[in-house]
Symmetry: C2
DNA sequence: GCTATTCGTAAGACATGACTTACGAAATGA
DNA sequence: TCATTTCGTAAGTCATGTCTTACGAATAGC
């Protein structure tokens, strides 16, 4: 559930494709695998990584498992880049003060 | 300069460490390599990936090259997760409407 | 109980990428 | 010009991760 885990989870292009497919709403593993150039077990393995990272959540529906985006995880990433941007701007401003003030 | 390139660039933990070290301000390649458990050429290779992805920029200073955070690139990532979060919320709301009304 | 469906996990093959050393290029200063 | 410093690139090694097939578990319906 750390940032490191989220970055690692989003490091594979196939995993990002799975993640993007969930953008439009929850889907079963089989439905996710259709349209992707990898096998269903591969998708299942990717979903585990995404789930452990806190980027997707799982819900049971009979024999199916419906995976959905975990908005909290997405929000965490958004916050990370928010703060990163702020810090980068601050350090830039300080570098200007230091060079001519 | 695409999102794909930015995600790929941030997929390596060493590269994220380099990226994080630039958060506090611009640094030379040698200065970045100090304190990291990899060689200077390794850092140089990582910086090339980060630069090609639009996440860092380069400035010459005599024989040195000062790398800094490219705030536009960080802003792009922030926007990506902003929109992703909005889309996920919308699709969630739609799923509620479809299920009970 | 039996079958069909959906899925997760194990084991192993294979490609990808991250690292090292060696080397050459460019800028600085004497 | 020569030496020093700083850096990027090339070549090759090695670890990591991504994929496949095979298999077993869980649920639902008959």
């Amino acid at each position: 559930m750390t940032y490191e885990m989220k970055f690692e989870a989003l490091s594979s292009s196939t995993r990002r494709a799975v993640f993007e497919r969930l953008r439009a709403g929850g889907r079963s593993v089989g439905a996710l695998a259709e349209g992707l150039p990898v096998s269903r077990p591969a998708v299942s393995q990717h979903l585990k990584v995404l789930k452990d990272a806190g980027l997707v959540s799982e819900r049971r529906d009979g024999v199916r498992r419906i995976y959905s985006i975990d908005r909290q995880g997405v929000s965490d990433m958004r916050d990370y880049f928010d703060r990163f941007w702020d810090d980068a701007l601050d350090s830039y401003k300080r570098s200007l003060e230091g060079s001519d003030g």
